[in-house]
């Protein structure tokens, strides 16, 4: 698509700097002129700015050190010491990669937030679980014989919904039981709210990545596109199955984890597709 003096490819190349506000005046004017005439590019910038604004509005969360290790491993590339790299143009790095990179910068903030929130929540519940399960240390006989020992929780009741994150209080008065029930309801409600927030964040970011991938389809080899689409279908089926099951058992930590993993996988695959070199 070509509008005014700037082509969409030139626009793509200038987009990261435009979003950062570091373009010089003539180029910025050319970008704005192009935006006023090109629906595709104007829509892209609108989406990116909306996501950046939403990501910026997310509250700060400071994960614990233990949690951060896991999160960091999921969002950061491994740090490998490299010899100093000469300033040569990297192969397979066309202009669209700037667009994808800009998009991914804003998407990472939202995904990180959700991972952090989920991990923090998971960590809290794990403490509660251990507190009601008794000592995790096996008995002497178990250790000596190597025979495994079951330490499963009580059988689920209709009241607790059978979720992995919910536990029946071990002993106590009716008041304690009532408090526990209220706490479980609050925990269930909190999980449901978290799930909604999570779905919204993933939804926005998946939509954005999907747009990039859709735009790039014509640049990729058809067999690669077919493989990507087939695997996206597999992931979508997993997401749907997890969501359906979770709707029936909203407190299930297993189902919540499964849904999160499937959504993460979809984001990963879309990112991979967004960065694939052309004509592959």
């Amino acid at each position: 698509m070509t509008n005014s003096n700037m082509t969409c490819e030139e626009f793509d190349a200038a987009l990261p700097d435009y979003l950062e506000g570091t373009l010089d005046e003539p180029l910025r004017a050319a970008v704005q002129k192009h935006l006023s005439e090109c629906v595709r590019c104007a829509s892209l910038v609108r989406d990116l700015e909306t996501i950046r604004k939403n990501a910026g509005a997310l509250p700060d969360l400071i994960p614990s050190r233990d949690l951060w290790q896991g999160i960091e491993a999921r969002i950061a590339a491994p740090v490998i010491p490299l010899a100093e790299r000469p300033e040569v143009q990297r192969r397979f790095v066309p202009a669209w990669m700037g667009v994808a990179a800009a998009a991914l910068i804003v998407s990472t903030a939202g995904i990180t937030y959700m991972l952090t929130a989920r991990s923090l929540q998971g960590g809290k519940e794990q403490v509660a679980t251990l507190a009601t399960q008794g000592s995790p240390i096996p008995s002497k006989s178990g250790s000596d014989t190597g025979a495994p020992q079951i330490s499963t929780e009580q059988a689920p009741t209709p009241a607790d919904g059978g979720g992995a994150g919910s536990r029946r209080p071990p002993t106590g008065s009716r008041m304690a039981a009532s408090d526990a029930a209220a706490g479980q309801n609050r925990a269930g409600a909190r999980l449901a709210v978290q799930q909604e927030q999570s779905d919204a964040v993933y939804g926005r970011e998946i939509d954005m990545l999907q747009k990039i991938v859709t735009q790039r389809k014509t640049q990729l080899d058809s067999s690669t596109v077919a493989i990507i689409e087939r695997n996206l279908q597999i992931i979508d089926a997993a997401i749907e199955q997890s969501k359906t099951a979770l709707a029936k058992d909203p407190r299930s930590r297993l189902l919540s984890d499964q849904l999160t993993h499937a959504l993460d996988k979809k984001v990963e695959l879309l990112r991979t597709a967004a960065f694939l070199p052309a004509s592959t």
Binding site: P78, I80, P86, F92, P138, A147, T152, Q154, I227, R230
Partner: protein
């Protein structure tokens, strides 16, 4: 001078089979065929990339990088200094379809042991053996096969297979639909796929994390004291071959799949086993093993040995 060691100083000998047809910068030149040997500092990087064809790298006991490369159509771009050797295809052209004008390329490269390899292909195969350094190898539709990496090894493919063997360090392995196989790894392992099967054999690691959506996973390896092992799938089967003498707490859970284990499970008084969820301890219980599926089967067998695959 931008770089103290210019290419012309670095080329030890050997025939440049074809004359340079383009010189973009003083330290970067383009060829259709290249046969050369350049010196590389210990631990230097060798960075090779192509669109289609193959990359084949072998480690040797010399301090030089020996390159034999050719391309059917298009140009090879080459640069070198004491810390880095770079060979790629010239993919600059017009429009999104420029790669279609580039023919198959073949890179045969010998590298000093300890070199850091960065190998990328689009539709080509990538193989590396004997380099005994860090390796980052990827292909989109080609197969990736590396061995003898140390410290950090990464293998990735979208639709091709990914294979890593004899890794003395951490392994990151990832595919989309291709099968993934790792053998004899001593270091942390991260392996993931969407629909490709994952097979991990001869693993000696304190930290293993694997995930797949519909692929099957097969793990055979040690359970180290205080180690952490996580296995996840949606519909794929998880098969864990655990040494009989392992000590670990297991948390195994599935929504609609089944759980089958060779380990004898004994219910403690006052506890009940919830369908689809099992927690049990074997040995000293120091390691933690979690396995989770939505509908996939989970099989935990105790018949594995700790010996390495090639023994």
């Amino acid at each position: 001078m931008k770089n103290e060691m210019k290419l012309t100083c670095l080329i030890v000998t050997v025939g440049m089979a074809a004359a340079p047809v383009l010189a973009r910068a003083q330290d970067e030149r383009a060829f259709t065929q290249l046969d050369t040997t350049v010196r590389l500092d210990r631990g230097g990087a060798v960075d090779l990339s192509l669109i289609s064809g193959r990359i084949r790298v072998t480690g040797w006991d010399q301090a030089n990088v020996k390159i034999s490369a050719s391309i059917e159509s298009g140009l090879l771009r080459f640069s070198a200094n004491s810390s880095r050797v770079t060979l790629s295809v010239d993919d600059e052209g017009n429009g999104h379809y420029r790669h279609r004008n580039v023919g198959e390329a073949r890179f045969d490269v010998s590298v000093p042991r300890g070199s850091h390899l960065i190998l990328e292909a689009v539709s080509g195969d990538v193989t590396a053996k004997g380099s005994q350094g860090e390796i980052e190898a990827s292909s989109v539709s080609g197969d990736v096969d590396v061995s003898d990496g140390i410290r950090a090894v990464s293998v990735e493919s979208v639709s091709g297979s990914a294979h890593a063997a004899q890794v003395n360090g951490n392994l990151h392995a990832e595919t989309v639909s291709g099968d993934l196989r790792a053998e004899n790894v001593s270091g942390n392992v991260q392996a993931s796929s969407v629909s490709g099967d994952i097979r991990l054999v001869g693993i000696q690691s304190r930290d293993v994390r694997t995930e797949t959506v519909s692929g099957n996973l097969d793990y055979t390896g040690t359970i180290e004291p205080s180690g952490r092992y996580g296995f996840e799938s949606h519909s794929g089967t998880l098969k864990l071959n655990i040494p009989r003498n392992a000590g670990a707490q297991f948390s195994v859970e599935t929504f609609s799949g089944s759980i089958d284990t060779d380990f004898p499970i004994t219910l403690q008084p006052g506890t009940k086993r919830r369908e689809g969820h099992m927690e049990f301890t074997i040995g000293d219980g120091r390691a933690r093993v979690t396995a989770q599926t939505f509908s996939g089967e989970i099989i935990i067998s105790n018949g594995s040995t700790t010996r390495r695959e090639d023994e």
